[in-house]
Point group: C2
Chain length 251, copies 2
Amino acid sequence: MNILITNDDGIRADGIIELAKEISTIANVYVVAPESQRSATGHAITIHSPIMINDEYIDDKIKAYSISGTPADCVKVGIEALFKDIDIDLVLSGINNGPNLGTDVVYSGTASAAIEGLIQNKPSIAISYDQFNIGKEVYRESARYVVSLINSIKNKLELLEDCILNVNIPKGEVKGFKITKLGDRKYDNVVDERLSPYGKKYIWIGGDVKELDQDEDSDIVAVNNGYISITPVNIEMTNLRKIDKLKEIDL
Amino acid sequence: MNILITNDDGIRADGIIELAKEISTIANVYVVAPESQRSATGHAITIHSPIMINDEYIDDKIKAYSISGTPADCVKVGIEALFKDIDIDLVLSGINNGPNLGTDVVYSGTASAAIEGLIQNKPSIAISYDQFNIGKEVYRESARYVVSLINSIKNKLELLEDCILNVNIPKGEVKGFKITKLGDRKYDNVVDERLSPYGKKYIWIGGDVKELDQDEDSDIVAVNNGYISITPVNIEMTNLRKIDKLKEIDL
């Protein structure tokens, strides 16, 4: 298999390095990642400035590129330019530093890179780890679960013709895999208002995760219970149920 | 009504200035927009740097803010901080310089600002004009259609509890409104590879719209035929149809 690997934490993040190394044991890997941290970039693409391309290596062995663009740019530029002569079979995005669960998927650079893979007609999987700043060894172990998942679905990749898989790996002991829905994630205390030393107002966006009731079959519950959550996520955004109701309005 | 207005082209764009002026004839308007051009930013939010806040005015009369963040940041910061004491009834994003049709909605900062409004439990509408770099007068005329749309739906805003309206205004004569689905938009010649004067490779993302067969009830067909397209767009991203099929795989 030919597997394109990207992420949103940048080319020097442990998550992509360990993923690329582990995947290189079962496939040809083609790596292109942002040159620096680009998380929470959603599905941004770069059209108001050019995208610079840098030569890189992963672990001194795996040829890679970093670019001055976003995660979605990486997949677009990877498939349409850097690796245009390669028949890419699968796009992997991750392993992300921290979870991408529930409503947060809309903000996720990790998921958006996979969604760009889907737009490019490639089976695509986003992978995140449910804790921040873990060590290389935990990423390596997590990458082995990704290899196992790829082995299970590599003959059924047609299932990914209209959705990506959004995968979240729990911290601690892994009890197995669960197919899930996106849960509901909201935050308290979202903005932190401050004053600069010069009296100018500025804001940090952050917040604490709200305790909300979740469906038993949600990604949030699965990960909290020690399961690797796999959610099929799509970009069919039209709300078809509302079309007839809107047509009743006299416009 | 209290209406929050934002955009992705920045606080100095004609589209938001004319929209704010026109909407101020029917409602109290609260304006917060990016300090510079932030189109194609998708649902990016700013979490790796603080967001600076600047005082602004629209047309010397309407108090406004610009921020160093993205369109989604504008709505988050507007509702949670700048206008937190105001009960916002509706979020408007636009009028965008150029269309946001079909698959492109996933990249659109204009649509993402409205989707952030939906996440914040506010009825939200994204408005785009199907041509680039039009004059103030065309935006003013378009803003009057937005006023007309608001008057038609202001007593039915509960329809927007689980979707935004993505509105595209056609160039030329307007024949009326059509409720539509998102069409299929793809591009040819997406990457333009160049060399810097110093021999370094870089890329511009762009491309030409592909001629694709479209559903008759798509936004693309409606706008091409001279109708204002209104598409209900949501963020329920779980692909429910695939859940049972994925459960059949031995993981």
